[in-house]
Symmetry: C2
Subunit: 661 residues, 2 copies
């Protein structure tokens, strides 16, 4: 153990294991998670070559091998709880996406949700036993988030009782689905359904794309890998071009909508029925923002405790980087953010489970709020974590650029969350739509409930930007509940501002749509403020559940830092709205400095509490034992370019050059 990092741990003021239990949701959850981790990490079948040293084809190959092992072992051990499967998988492929993700996470669930009993009989068991390996082919080259724009067609031919699938344009080629390129032999294809000359919109079709035995593409199917990407090296994201591919009528997923043999179409009873999966995935992404950021913080903070550099006082030994105020200011607000997002992730999961219970009983009343919340928080947390990971990486000096640090891979595998499952700006605008709608309802005298209920108060109190002198100075920048209040008022004011912008545009005789587009900047800003409020509020709420005094104290400091840092970063909003005075903003800056010093001694313990196994972190900089440099040297020596002492290019180019000059 590196003595610096050992000393950090001795100095911590709280019981790390107890905080880990809070993050896991209870001591028994921690125990079970660790059992699963040890199952995987002690299993020789999951031994892997360092992916950094492999070609993409080799990485894909290794990932398929491990996924296959994983499926065998999960069944052998009888692990069936979704959370436990998730833990197991996140150790087998340490937080990396893998080729069977869409088969397990989209193909099977979609069958469960949308297949008829007859279809379940035909497809589910073969898929469960991986004779059928499927993917979910929705996104096209020219269309992502805007589903109505998808161009793939499925035209019903009553004469043969078949659908004929086509990719009518280059931009309609299915593009991006994971596992489509090389792994899958089936795909659920989303296509515009045409029957008897009418278009009935997007529907899902089960299409076989490769031969079960030879794995060769079937006639009319042009399929392959879309090429190398930023991250996702193990995944064969693919393309699929359909050229008059005929499938039996029975291959349309018909649990809700139907096409009869004669071509007549039956609408689904509710459009909300296929809505849930999307909301679920977005809710889960909030949690994965926390996971990725927690990893980046663990690496950056541990390495900052080990790394000595430069001098604060002349002549004295080089201090730990963590003693520099600038380094604390870079990292501790992000550590606070990671905790905030952990708790928001827990909340989203609980809320999803609660509301999906209601939905199963036919009660859809809370779905719109959850939809709006999951869209906005997905965008808010992924954007914030995305920038934060890069700050962590760059806080490690040059070594943050080495793949041995793991930071480049954490970034490239995380950043797509800003785009997939709903592009973030579009998500923010969806939340804004809900906020503006709620605002108008409140204005019309309707009583709002749930998380937007503050729009009632704002309405009745007539919250308006106004000079701070005119507002009772209730804000105490040392008091978290007081800060929750100002975040709430900021959100209310920015929703009001956005709604008024729309109003002004309409008064200039713009159409509703143009008024909306011309207010989009304000709408995104309002959504962002709303999400920020929700995060601060949920962090504060969580503190109420923490009984342990020492942990309560350190989490309170983090929550306060998170809230105050957000205030100084957005001080214009608070000043502009007259919610804070200039002295209060300056006081916030000073308080932040105090909190940085205060958190200094617990920083390493706070990342230790995330309890990320070394094999999962897979970072020489973030090792638990702090023995960074020896392992970095050892890692570098294994680099493929060092397989030979002299690279062939010397003999091919460099040496012959001499005689030519």
């Amino acid at each position: 153990m590196n003595p610096d990092i050992a000393r950090e741990r001795e100095n911590a003021t709280f019981d790390v294991n107890k905080l880990t239990n809070i993050l896991d949701g209870g001591p028994e959850k921690t125990t079970r998670r660790r059992e699963i981790e040890s199952l995987v990490f002690s299993d020789p079948d999951f031994k892997e070559d360092d992916p950094n040293f492999l070609s993409r084809s080799e990485r894909y190959d290794q990932a398929v091998r491990k996924s296959v092992q994983m499926i065998l072992k999960l069944r052998e051990y009888g692990i069936a709880d979704p959370e436990e499967i998730q833990h197991y998988k996140s150790c087998v492929h340490p937080d990396r996406p893998e080729p069977l993700d869409l088969h397990l996470g989209m193909f099977l669930p979609t069958l469960l949700n949308q297949a008829t009993p007859e279809q379940m009989d035909r497809f589910f068991m073969p898929a469960w036993n991986l004779e059928i390996i499927g993917t979910y082919a929705q996104t096209e080259m020219g269309h992502g988030t805007h589903l109505r724009g998808l161009e793939t067609t499925a035209t019903y031919d009553p004469s043969t009782q078949e659908f004929v699938l086509n990719s009518p344009t280059v931009s309609s080629i299915k593009w991006w689905p994971g596992g489509l390129g090389k792994t899958s032999n089936y795909a659920i294809v989303l296509a515009q359904l045409y029957s008897l000359g009418n278009c009935h919109g997007l529907h899902a079709f089960i299409v076989q794309i490769r031969d079960i035995n030879t794995h060769k593409p079937l006639p009319g199917i042009v399929v392959g890998d879309i090429g190398p990407k930023f991250g996702f090296h193990e995944v064969d994201n693919g393309f699929l071009k359909l050229e008059n591919v005929r499938i039996p009528r029975e291959n349309m997923l018909m649990k809700y909508s139907k096409v009869a043999p004669d071509g007549s179409y039956v609408k689904p009873p509710s459009t909300k029925l296929t809505y849930g999966t999307m909301v679920f995935i977005r809710s889960m992404i909030v949690g994965s923002s926390a996971v990725a950021l927690a990893k980046a913080c663990t690496i950056a903070i541990r390495y900052s405790a080990v790394r000595h550099q430069s001098e604060i006082r002349a002549g004295e030994p080089e201090p730990q980087i963590l003693d520099y105020q600038t380094q604390q200011y870079k990292l501790f607000p992000l550590l606070a953010m990671a905790y905030a997002f952990k708790f928001v992730g827990q909340y989203m999961k609980q809320t999803y489970l609660r509301i999906s219970e209601d939905i199963n009983h036919g009660n859809f009343s809370e779905l719109p709020e959850l939809h709006a919340l999951s869209a906005g928080l997905k965008a808010f947390t992924t954007w914030e974590a995305n920038s934060a990971i890069e700050v962590c990486r760059m806080s490690c000096g040059g070594h943050g650029y080495s793949r041995s640090s793991a930071l480049p891979d954490i970034y490239v595998d995380f950043t797509p969350t800003c785009t997939y499952e709903g592009e973030n700006t579009v998500m923010m605008l969806q939340t804004a739509r809900y906020l503006v709608k709620s605002y108008r309802q409140a204005k019309a005298g309707q009583r709002l409930s749930g998380i937007v209920s503050y729009l009632n108060e704002a309405q009745s109190r007539g919250v308006q930007p106004q000079p701070v002198a005119a507002r009772p100075t209730v804000v105490d920048v040392n008091d978290l509940s007081s800060l929750v209040e100002v975040y709430k008022l900021r959100a209310a004011i920015l929703v009001d501002l956005a709604a008024k912008s729309i109003q002004q545009e309409l008064q200039r005789r713009r159409s509703q749509e143009d008024a909306w587009n011309n207010s989009a900047i304000d709408l995104v800003r309002a959504s962002d403020a709303h999400c920020h409020y929700v995060v601060v509020k949920l962090f504060a709420d969580k503190l109420g559940e923490v009984g342990d005094t020492a942990i309560h104290s350190v989490l309170s400091a983090l929550a306060l830092l998170y809230a105050l840092h957000g205030i100084t970063k957005n001080s214009g909003d608070f000043l502009q709205a007259g919610l804070l005075s200039v002295p209060q903003v300056m006081q916030s800056s000073l308080r932040i400095k105090e909190l940085l010093s205060q958190l200094r001694r617990n920083a390493v313990a706070l990342v230790d509490a995330f309890d990320i196994h070394d094999k999962k972190l897979n970072s020489v900089l973030g090792r638990y034992d702090g023995n960074v440099y020896e392992h970095m040297f050892e890692w570098a020596r294994r680099s493929p370019l060092n397989a030979t002492e002299v690279h062939e290019s010397f003999h091919k180019y460099l040496k012959p050059l001499r005689s030519n000059l």
Copy 2:
């Protein structure tokens, strides 16, 4: 040509070629640059395999091959002007770093600057003719920006008249130098000089590391590649461990400092003599921020003109992405930033040339200001461009993640500028040191000149944060020169705030060093505001040189957008200091929206004016002709994973799995 992008070009209000000339520094420069580009791009010897489809070893091999060709051709064509060499190189390796970078950019120049005539005789011509290939080995595993902390030792042995070089610890192993891993047979090694029991600090030594003929490492030399990184795939950044390596006394670079045969040491006449290269490189990085950002903007804006998505008005065709206010708000301020940084880059280059003339005549008076300016602007522009490139990438939807877009590579090859040649936070603090020193001089009644002269005025006018009511409302948010003024006042106030924080810390009986560290957040903030002011000012200054009315008009809109966007993003600073009122900040937001609409029709023309050759851009999304999707499909089909229809992993793992389930 894609009809959308053709229409954009028809609608432009100015002559693109004339703007290109301004960016190049004159029509003759444009002509010559294009000549050089065509020399390279029409040359079959520079044909390359798509690096995205190669292994790292293959990429390195291809880069060495092209570098060797480049050296032959530059001599064949007699291209010797540094700027022209730079153009040529940036086409051969499209803005990618390459294995000979340090030989050409550091090893040869260091010989020229620091070698004695005798050393020039021995080393220069062999190095010029690439018999000797050298690198510059400064950074160690445990030490980067803080040079005094470097641990490598060179101990003089008078009995044999040799230096004995050692890497005494793991953290002292040389780490990161480009070309060190596989390419170089020599290195200039920076080491602590010990002679007759005294340490004389860091000096440079010429060390042979590999055999000239076999290229095998020499005894005592442990050398290799440091492994894969975020970017820089073509470069063999290396490590070097020295184990009692003996070199003759004559291999210490002795133009300035000397060690006599008996071991006595002669100090250099001035410590500023080795200072210039560093300042030069930092100044040039400002320009490369502009280059990288211009590429990213070109790709994002062209693709946003071609890409149709979603709907503004129900039932109408999908609009170009560029018509969305949110997309304009993402991209146009970055386009303005790219122009701003272009002009700042031009200024830094001119200033460097002017001041190095002075230095050659023994006049060092302006060096401290240039040093402070280059440090701060290097940090400011690289940080800003770094985030901006990612915003551009994410504005392209999913395809921004594909390597075919070139955006991932622009980012990973650019982001190291935030760390190398001086870590950015350290750079900001260096600039702050200069600002605080100047502030104190002004306070002591000294008259400052140069770019910090505003600290005089601030002193005499007693600029202080104060309510806006107390300040004459001189600011016109539609007037650029008025905005330059508020940026200046903001910088002055933040320098004042930082200096006062130090003062307060000292009053609390803290040491100078602790007072500095405890004010570091404020110091970085002050530097940032200073740099921001400089950028806005230089952009405004540049407008004065532009004669063409149409171009003047569009550049004015860009400059105003840049300034106003900076104000709304940092509105807290301006409100807090009482420099702007709340209505003025709100007016700024409205004005930004107007500028976005106004710039919309010229957006494509403005990126066209960067005149980045398709082969240099190397992006399917950013193609000049806008024919994106066809080429993306064609590119994907060439991906190595598509070389076979069925990946071997199917037969190895997936098919056998069936019988096991």
